[in-house]
């Protein structure tokens, strides 16, 4: 007979998850004087163990080895980060503020009182904390040079991306663990700040339930791999387990189900990579992998962003087989790659099946059409840049305009919306202040709160909303805090 130990911790705030949302809200609250505990399912990663070797790093830094898949037409690979920093640990570091047209839509459709002016100090605070700045042409790498040449010849709108990096030397392996710690992911920025301010960070803790009593939060119960249970007793619980896992945790806890929207409204930003064989040496992995964008077609929901990696990454992404694959790989130094990202109209869902997330997502015709246009335009971009050959991610003989759903093999990196914010309890899981409808003291601060597809990388939106939540809970004005910081 074995006895399971239970450890109790008392705090004012329990934050579940240490990614883009959880780490930010934990640091701001701890620095604001609150007693904070963070429960993170993953581990703290030692950059000395980053080897830049794709299969090993996928297994180490990603949930399910980066092999999370959606079910639907077509199936979509959805890599998610795991550990302190969450997906900020393995993303490309691209930083966009929420586009004003998206904020206007949130006000119009979801009754949210967030606008460009009110969010500006939150963005400024996050950007300062993460050293956000524009990539320089010198660091942008050969991939960006190819795309820039094509865009300039076609007269398409383009630019260098802003990133959260400091002292970047263009290692080219953002997705496999930054070996220089230049990428300012939340595991090396906000989490150390939270610790310094007294927050307790518990890693390897899988949260089983958010605890409530009488319609109020009372804490959370987690379990360690050893079997030890941890009960955090706290009147405020902030769920930031990510867009895929937050709705499952809330459902297990009997929370957020009133509107019928929990686990629904999943948007993903599906994307596909296109390769080109150039005469010049590109050396795509020398420089920042995602350093440049083309937004000529943003109004149609299509954005092009750089993507690159070492040979192992290219080998598994290259849409060729057999001798053609080997021949293209032999010219690795001459390969360029860029991604087509779609601001999706499709919506999916997340449910639990035997405790495992079942992610359903079918691409609608409007998004298929976006891919058809995007792939055709991407080929045009590479041809304008002087490509010798363009390798579209489509079966032999299929043109972009003739592509069907079964011809597409997208990936997606930006899951959002499964606990969406809506001022009306009948339409959303949380309100405009990110508080769960129908219960007091439970909040959501991750991508699941974002009520619509953004059309741009979402980490800054998530972090700005988390900052806003923290200052709301502290009863302080983020604009004043930001002004003090600037003055200091």
């Amino acid at each position: 007979m074995s006895a399971t130990r239970t450890q109790s911790i008392h705090a004012e705030v329990c934050v579940i998850g240490a990614g883009a949302g959880g780490a930010v809200v934990a640091a701001e609250l701890a620095e604001g004087g609150m007693n904070v505990v963070v429960l993170e399912e993953g581990h703290e990663h030692d950059p000395d163990k980053f080897t830049a070797r794709a299969p090993e790093m996928l297994a180490e830094l990603y949930r399910d080895g980066g092999q999370t898949m959606t079910l639907g037409a077509p199936p979509i690979l959805l890599p998610l980060g795991s550990g302190l920093g969450g997906t900020t640990l393995i993303n490309s570091g691209t930083c966009f503020r929420t586009p004003p047209r998206v904020l206007e839509r949130w006000a119009r459709e979801f009754g949210l009182e967030v606008d460009e002016r009110s969010l500006r100090p939150c963005f400024e605070r996050v950007e300062r904390a993460l050293s956000v700045s524009e990539v320089t042409p010198e660091l942008a790498g050969g991939n960006a040079a190819v795309a820039r040449r094509g865009a300039e010849r076609l007269g398409w709108s383009h630019g260098y991306l802003r990133r959260n990096a400091r002292g970047c030397v263009g290692s080219g392996v953002c997705a496999f663990g930054c070996p220089t710690s230049a990428k300012q992911h939340t595991g090396i920025t906000y989490i150390p700040r939270a610790k310094r301010a007294g927050a307790r960070i518990v890693t390897g803790a899988r949260v089983e339930r958010v605890l409530t009593h009488g319609g109020r939060a009372t804490g959370a119960r987690a379990r360690m791999a050893s079997g030890t249970a941890i009960d955090v007793r706290a009147p405020i619980v902030i769920v930031a387990a990510g867009t895929i896992h937050t709705p499952l945790l809330m459902a297990r806890s009997g929370l957020g189900g009133g509107s019928g929207q929990l686990g629904s409204n999943l948007s993903l930003h599906p994307a596909m990579g296109v390769f080109a064989l150039m005469d010049e040496i590109v050396d795509m992995a020398k420089g920042v992998p995602q350093s440049f964008y083309v937004d000529e077609f943003a109004a149609q929901g299509i954005v092009f962003e750089g993507v690159a990696g070492p040979p192992a990454y290219v080998a598994m992404s290259l849409p060729l087989t057999g001798a053609r694959h080997a021949a293209a790989m032999a010219n690795y130094r001459h390969l360029a790659q860029f991604g087509v990202m779609v601001s999706d109209s499709s919506r999916g869902s997340v449910r639990a099946l035997a405790g495992v997330p079942l992610i359903r997502y079918d691409l609608v015709d409007a998004d298929l059409q976006r891919f058809r246009i995007g792939l055709a335009r991407m080929r045009e971009l590479f041809e304008a840049a002087g490509a010798r050959e363009v390798y579209l991610p489509l079966p032999d003989g299929v043109s972009p305009q003739g592509a069907r759903l079964r011809d597409l093999k997208p990936m997606a990196f930006h899951p959002l919306g499964t606990a969406r914010a809506d001022a009306r309890a009948t339409h959303g899981v949380i309100d405009g202040e990110l508080a769960v409808h129908g219960v007091r003291g439970v909040y959501v601060a991750d991508g699941s709160a974002v009520p619509s597809s953004l059309g741009v990388n979402p980490q800054m939106t998530i972090m700005a909303l988390a900052t806003r939540l923290a200052f709301g809970l502290l009863g302080r004005d983020v604009e004043d805090a930001q002004a003090s910081l600037e003055a200091a």
């Binding site: 950059p47 090993e56 399910d64 080219g172 040979p311």
Partner: protein
């Protein structure tokens, strides 16, 4: 014009992997159903008769090939021959972190 022969030699040995078999580790980290399916596919793809069988089902064959090429091009010697010196990238990162007191 690309000719596949423009790769400089690497300046250092490859970074030793932290795991015994990176591909086995990669497959083992997949969700349970995918893990079982991938092990089966890769085992088939590594045998001549199995590969011939897989070739009849292109989508499945492609999945197996992705795992196999991932393993092949992860080999530091192969990467090096293609002009990517992963060991130098990692060594530079570690040196920078130590020299500048980065996390």
């Amino acid at each position: 014009m690309p000719n596949g022969s423009s790769s400089p030699a690497c300046t250092s040995e490859g970074v030793p992997s932290g795991v015994r078999d990176p591909i086995d580790t990669f497959i083992a980290s997949a969700p349970p159903l995918q893990r079982t399916g991938m092990r089966l596919l890769v085992a088939l793809a590594r045998r001549p008769r199995g590969a011939a069988l897989l070739a009849r089902v292109p989508a499945t064959n492609q999945l197996a090939q992705i795992v196999l090429v991932l393993g092949h091009y992860d080999d530091p010697a192969v990467g090096c021959a293609l002009g990517w010196d992963g060991a130098a990238v990692v060594a530079r990162g570690r040196a920078l972190r130590r020299a500048e007191g980065r996390p």
